[in-house]
């Protein structure tokens, strides 16, 4: 096997809060080969952004030192991620909070390029205009000199996608990067990313709530629930025949499949009060006493893995 681009093993992250220690991530494992694309889905608050932040070494202040292993291109990231700065592009979840309002958007990105990309400022400007064009910003050359507030919400999101790609990263980590885009613009962006994956072997780690985007872009998917991997496998297989009861219920909410606005009963547990055993058991229609007693292991079955021994039982 070739060396994975990104390998995460046994990752655990906890935060000190007023209500005690919050175990946000627990024993998370995933790998991405060069040119591979992994989508991460899961209910709001389940730890997706925290996973990305742990990989990037930008956890919030109250975080304990994460345990486990994170390796990028064979080298350790947990001890410090500075060496990988230019090689990993990151699109954060909130474009509003990620751009400094008092500097021109172009200057902010050019500054990142100056530190991490080879070439002169003129080269960088030329390259950035090309990227602005590729992410469908109107008048790409003029966009360089505008301030963040002069862009619309979706335009700011595309600025950040361009910024993340500016240093030719080997891995792009993106947190819900197309939520502010209409579907025709989104389609162009997904097309661009697919080309970069195919032509340059860009690796993708992509958090999304949109199963259509997931199906279009990612070859594998990890389903996270309450900080743990519930299910992992090729996107096609997981979407066609979801195994974990949580995945099944989540997919049943999709407008293509749902007839009502039902949703999954109950809410994601607070990270300071994780249920015993399987963390999904209080909401699971298949739960049995054993589910509350011991946490289920992640069973590997061919290319797929699922953390539920009752994954073959249909809903009654």
């Amino acid at each position: 096997m070739t060396q994975p681009l990104l390998a995460v093993e046994g990752l655990a992250v906890a935060l000190r809060t007023d209500h005690g220690l919050a175990r946000i991530l627990d024993d998370v494992a995933l790998t991405i080969p060069p040119g591979g694309s992994l989508g991460v889905v899961g209910e709001s608050g389940c730890g997706k952004s925290t996973l990305l932040r742990a990989i990037l070494g930008i956890l919030p202040k109250g975080a304990t030192t994460p345990s486990g292993r994170i390796r990028f291109q064979g080298r350790d990231l947990l001890a410090g991620a500075d060496w990988a700065r230019g090689r990993i592009g990151f699109v954060p979840q909130d474009p509003y909070l990620s751009l400094n309002p008092v500097f021109r958007a172009g200057d902010q990105i050019l500054e990142i390029m100056r530190r991490h990309a080879p070439g002169s400022r003129a080269d960088h400007r030329r390259k950035l205009v090309e990227l602005f064009r590729a992410v469908q910003l109107p008048e790409p050359a003029a966009a360089l000199d505008k301030y963040p507030h002069q862009f619309s919400g979706g335009q700011r999101q595309r600025l950040l996608i361009a910024a993340a790609l500016a240093c030719d990263p080997a891995l792009l980590i993106a947190d819900e990067p197309t939520t502010a885009l209409d579907v025709t613009t989104q389609r162009e962006i997904l097309g661009l990313l697919k080309r970069l994956v195919a032509e340059r072997g860009l690796g993708l780690l992509f958090v999304t709530h949109d199963f259509g985007v997931l199906a279009t872009l990612c070859d594998r998917v990890a389903v996270l629930y309450a900080g743990q991997v519930a299910e992992l496998g090729p996107t096609r297989a997981v979407l066609d025949t979801p195994w974990h009861p949580y995945t099944r219920l989540l997919l049943a909410c999709h407008p293509d499949r749902a007839t009502t606005l039902a949703g999954i009963p109950g809410t994601v547990p607070a990270a300071t009060a994780q249920p015993s055993g399987c963390r999904f058991h209080p909401r699971c229609p298949l739960a049995q006493p054993a589910c509350a007693a011991a946490p289920p292991a992640l069973l590997a079955l061919g290319e797929r893995a699922v953390a539920c021994p009752r994954h073959e039982v249909p809903f009654g």
């Binding site: 809060t17 007023d18 209910e43 709001s44 608050g45 997706k48 952004s49 919030p60 979840q93 909130d94 474009p95 509003y96 909070l97 064009r133 469908q136 910003l137 109107p138 008048e139 003029a142 002069q150 862009f151 619309s152 919400g153 335009q155 947190d175 819900e176 939520t179 502010a180 885009l181 209409d182 579907v183 025709t184 613009t185 989104q186 389609r187 097309g191 709530h209 949109d210 199963f211 259509g212 985007v213 199906a215 279009t216 996107t235 096609r236 979407l239 219920l249 989540l250 909410c253 999709h254 407008p255 293509d256 499949r257 749902a258 606005l261 039902a262 949703g263 999954i264 809410t267 607070a270």
Partner: protein, 317 residues
Amino acid sequence: MRCRLAELLTAQDLVVELGRDRLRAVDGVSLSIAAGETFGLVGESGCGKTTLARALLGLQGVAAGRITLAGATVTATGRAGRAAVQYVHQDPGAALDPWWRIGATLAEGLTIHGVTDRAEQQARIAEMLAAVGLDPALGARFPHELSGGQQRRIGIARILLLRPRLVILDEPTAGLDLSVQAAVLRLLAALRDRFGLTYLLISHDLGVVRRVCDRIAVMYLGRIVETGAAASLFAAPRHPYTRALLAAAPHLDGRESAAPPLSGDPPSLRAIPGGCRFHPRCPIAIPVCATTAPAVENVTAGHQVACHRWQEESPHA
């Protein structure tokens, strides 16, 4: 379908110019929202939806046109009398004060709107947090201690607490997982029925718009190009841009959309095309499209479109 009720908010020939070079981000928009309905606004990123919303809210001066609220003209400036119209911000992080605990931000909103009794404040806040699917204990946290979806739900709760008559929701479900999204949409519907609210819902999620809106307006480069009942607009879109939009949604099975992507560069406010603004990217444009702006025509009584060729093409996307 709901029957037509009294008009709550109307805009006539609204024009909004932005920045020193006075770019026309909204250029002659007319719309009318009936009391009690959910009115959807969709369109390309950057076409002027948020700018239109800010103008309706009185947060953005208008260069021309008229806005009425419950029959009375509201002046182009000043927020007086506008407490009845509230806005749920597109960027959840922008609406919350980073230095204040969530509960304090929510209570402050109530205080400003005249609810000063501490016990009543706390009761309303707890009820609203539960309604948006959040643990009331989250009130003790700071905004940065919340996930993106939690922040967005706080943004919705903050506004609904004030019980306005009309709420402009700018991308209220962006970044929410399907389960929470369903819960938020259920909540919005329940509050609408309970408090007689009216919604203007801006969204890129056509699945959401289709399920919750009574009527929809489609915007392209500062203008409304098609308006109609949600059912008829989705079943038989008439404008080529509407059709392109409906055809571009990604599918659950991962298959590529059969329709070709929109050709041409994204439009710029600095160089607005003459004639029909969509003509450089329109797959069915004819010479007249480049020279003459199409008038708004009735497809049926409740369905309007601005396109020279709406009658000639099969309405099915």
